[in-house]
């Protein structure tokens, strides 16, 4: 899928022609630089590596500095492999004009970290129903973890409390409301994962 790296700027709302309020996310998308073109005979598969986001040279590992130098660009913060851009060369710019208003895109990002959370928030468990009738301090408890002497263990993958969020999330089928080619902005209908200022990949 052809894609583009962007930065989530924030949300606003817009009124449609029928007067409906549309929630919108604004993303600063591109321009990205092609830093490597992978071919079947050299790499075993086809892909294009694109990079986005300025980074200080002193904060960039030497190995990456060399990699960016080879493609004739400054060090970048985010590097992603996409396909469907096979005819591009190293050093080419990929811009937001690859998207058309009205089409559907997917957005990949890292969701907001929620820390250590219980099963009610993390997995949507209902908790124990009653707060009265002798109930005491088990309101948001997970309940049973499984049967007893058979199998006499807890099944793998049992939903329990733990770290929530901060994971790769793909939000699919977001409508492109508007594209500003000169300002490198794209406006999508709906919300996308992650906090403001985080890097996201927009896929066609």
């Amino acid at each position: 899928m052809p894609g583009l790296i962007g930065k989530k700027l924030g949300m606003t709302s817009v009124y449609s022609a029928e007067g409906k309020n549309i929630p919108c996310t604004i993303i600063e998308a591109g321009p990205c630089v092609v830093t490597q073109v992978k071919k079947v005979d050299t790499d075993g598969y086809e892909a294009v590596q694109i990079a986005y986001g300025e980074r200080k040279e002193k904060n960039t590992p030497k190995a990456l500095q060399g990699h960016f130098k080879k493609s004739g660009t400054t060090p970048k913060r985010k590097v992603v492999e996409v396909d469907g851009l096979q005819d591009s060369k190293v050093g080419d710019q990929v811009t937001v004009d690859m998207f058309i208003e009205g089409e559907w895109v997917d957005v990949v990002g890292t969701s907001k970290g929620k820390g250590f959370q219980g099963v009610v928030k993390r997995h949507g468990f209902a908790g124990v129903g009653d707060a009265t009738h002798g109930q005491h301090n088990r309101l948001r408890a997970p309940g049973s973890l499984g049967a007893g002497s058979t199998p006499s263990r807890v099944m793998k993958g049992m939903k329990m409390a733990g770290r929530m969020g901060g994971k790769r999330v793909k939000q699919v089928n977001l409508e492109v409301v508007k594209v500003y080619n000169d300002k490198n902005l794209i406006v999508l209908k709906g919300s996308i994962p992650g906090p403001k200022g985080s890097y996201v990949v927009i896929e066609k």
């Binding site: 924030g10 606003t12 709302s13 009124y15 919108c24 600063e28 508007k178």
Partner: protein, 118 residues
């Protein structure tokens, strides 16, 4: 932030309404659709608050309708608002006058602000 403002200015219609703040009595004329017909209705009451900013800004109006308090929230950018009239400027000390909800009759009055003519 600048980019968000740019998008808001470009995609939302910017309506010019007379200035008002909490405590003021205003009349909002808004269009409602009934089937295919469109007509204008009005809602008059005291402004309780203005909230959010830019394209998301809304205001809340409260009126007493047959002894029952009725509140409505209008978005500033709504294309259904035809016009807004400011009837009275109220003299209140805070930006959100939710205390009005607990009051009825005499105690729910708001002093009118004396405007100095320039």
């Amino acid at each position: 932030m600048e980019a968000i403002k740019f998008v808001e200015n470009d995609l939302s219609q910017i309506n010019q309404y007379p200035e008002f703040k909490s405590g003021d009595t205003i009349t909002v004329y808004y269009k409602i659709k009934e089937g295919n017909k469109e007509r204008t209705q009005f809602f008059q009451g005291v402004v309780l608050q203005r909230r959010n900013s830019g394209a998301n800004e809304t205001f809340t109006i409260r009126k007493m309708s047959g002894g029952i308090g009725v509140e409505r929230v209008f978005p500033f950018a709504s294309p259904f608002i035809e016009k807004i009239e400011v009837n009275k400027h109220g003299n209140v000390r805070r930006a959100r006058i939710f205390y009005l909800r607990e009051r009825t009759g005499k105690s729910a009055r708001i002093r009118e602000k004396k405007m100095v003519k320039k």
